[in-house]
Amino acid sequence: MKLLSYFRGEAFQRGVHPPSCKLTASTRIRRLPFAPKVTVPLSQHIGRVPRPIVRVGQEVVRGEPIAKSDEWLSVPHHAPVTGVVEFIGLRPGVRGPWVESIVIRAHPGASQEDLWGRPRDLADATGGDILQAIWDSGMVGLGGAAFPTHAKLTVPKQAKVHTLVVNGCECEPYLTCDHRVMVEQADALVTGIRYAMRATGAVRSIVGIEDNKPDAVVAIREAIARCGRIPEGEVYAELVPTKYPQGSEKMLVMALFGVEIPAGDLPVSLGMVVNNVGTLAALGKLLPAGRGLIERVVTITGPGVAKPGDYIVPLGTPLRFVLDYAGAPGAESRQVILGGPMMGQAAASLDVPITKGMSGVLVMRGDELAWREHQKTYPCIKCAECVESCPMGLNPSQLGMLAAKREYDLMGSDYHLGECFECGCCSYVCPSNIPLVQQFRIAKQILREKAISK
């Protein structure tokens, strides 16, 4: 099979093919009811933490800004529900430690129609205007990294962007939120693409979609056709081979253009900006209405869920509420993963809220996990599976052996540990059941701490 792929000419070298398990690929997006109480953590993104601009006891309207910052690398937050600010302080965070949050009790009677907004006409807006509008909307990357979108779309002075790459790969198993967004909100997506092109000055935009989602390509091409020839340039939708981690921007650019983004560089060094489809579709809806990001599409799925599906979830909804609604019966569910199974994080508790960067909630059942626990861990048998699957072209076998002997410095200096983007392919394939990427995370953390203390 590997042999064949040699002649077929694949998108990028290596990578893996986990079973796709896309249970919810053809169910429409539904709306989740409002939880009685929502918790908005102030830090949901990469960058500075904004400060609250509401007081305890203050009434807020759905969509109204509740936290704000003048720092460039930071985004405002908006109230996801109409209600009363009940508490401002520490609450359980997604990563474990408690974080500063704003808790809002929803008005049971209030109609949760969008109330707050500053509609504006963006037909002739300049790039700068659009960037400001994006900033005001509190938009961050919805693909997972949660990097402030206005910052990403701001082209550095010495650089020039010609291509906007739209990432519709959704290579992780189980997740279908991007897929459904592309199918159901194609028009909003194209609108969002146009804004982003104008903001960056790109004259071409390509949506890259894995070839297991042909309906998404069709939907987007129809939306493009409905638009006619747009003034910003040209927009295409392209299929790329289905393979994990096709959705990583480096791999996607490789698949579409056949060039490698130089190590340590951003796509902008090749004149490209990469955005997630969810991000741009949300922009397409929010910017004309002048609203903030208060809800997102989340895939709630997994063998432990009775009613799997893609739901529009107000940000801040507690995980417990989401799972109760989707029918995740308590006893046998043993692991709740925020994100996809390959890169997602295990939830530390069910009291944490849904945040901006969360694309999926995956519930695994105990019996599904049991076989894995009983599988024995062997020393590395040098089967080379990991080397053949590491999309970054590293040597996880050697890195793993070094990590076992705590040779962290050597890992960084001689074996390019810094290039590892923690996709987990190596751990996925290892027949010896060695927790490779898990060790690499620790190693990177230790190296980071060493570098700081120096």
Partner: protein, 192 residues
Amino acid sequence: MHESAAQIFINAFLANNFVLAMFLGLCPFIGVSGKLETAAPMGAATTFVMLVASLCAYGLNLLLGYFQLEFLRLIAYIVIIASTVQLVEMVLKKYSPSLFRALGIYLPLITTNCAVLGVALFQTARDYDFIQSITFAVGAGAGFTLALVLMASVRERLQLSDVPAVAQGTALSLMLAGILSLAFMGFAGLGG
């Protein structure tokens, strides 16, 4: 029987490898083969000294033969090797400090390495002429380097293995040398 230069080289390099088949230069082989970084320069330095020692021994042997002083051969060889090493060290220090820094620490060790004296003694015992002597010295040095480098790379890999505690250290090195020597038996008769 006249051995061609190529035969002498291949024999000294592979078939009768100094370390693995002739048991010469084992102390540095076991001692310096822990790391690839040190093994390669050590091999290069030894090869160099072997070449110099071979040249000196060749000349000296003619001289001793002329004066019929063969019974002083051993003492003369060892003195001349020790002093050439010293000389080489001084010359290197003066004219090529970078090379000296790379090889310097190994040079004194080599004085007491029996592989070097072995080259001198064997070439005398086998009546090699000038060209043969030089080829022999270079072959022996190359063989020594090959064994050292192979051993060092294997030992570096074993640093990452869970070698049982009893076997760690010299015992493991010796067993490895034995296995390498077993593998090199395949070359027996190659230079024939």
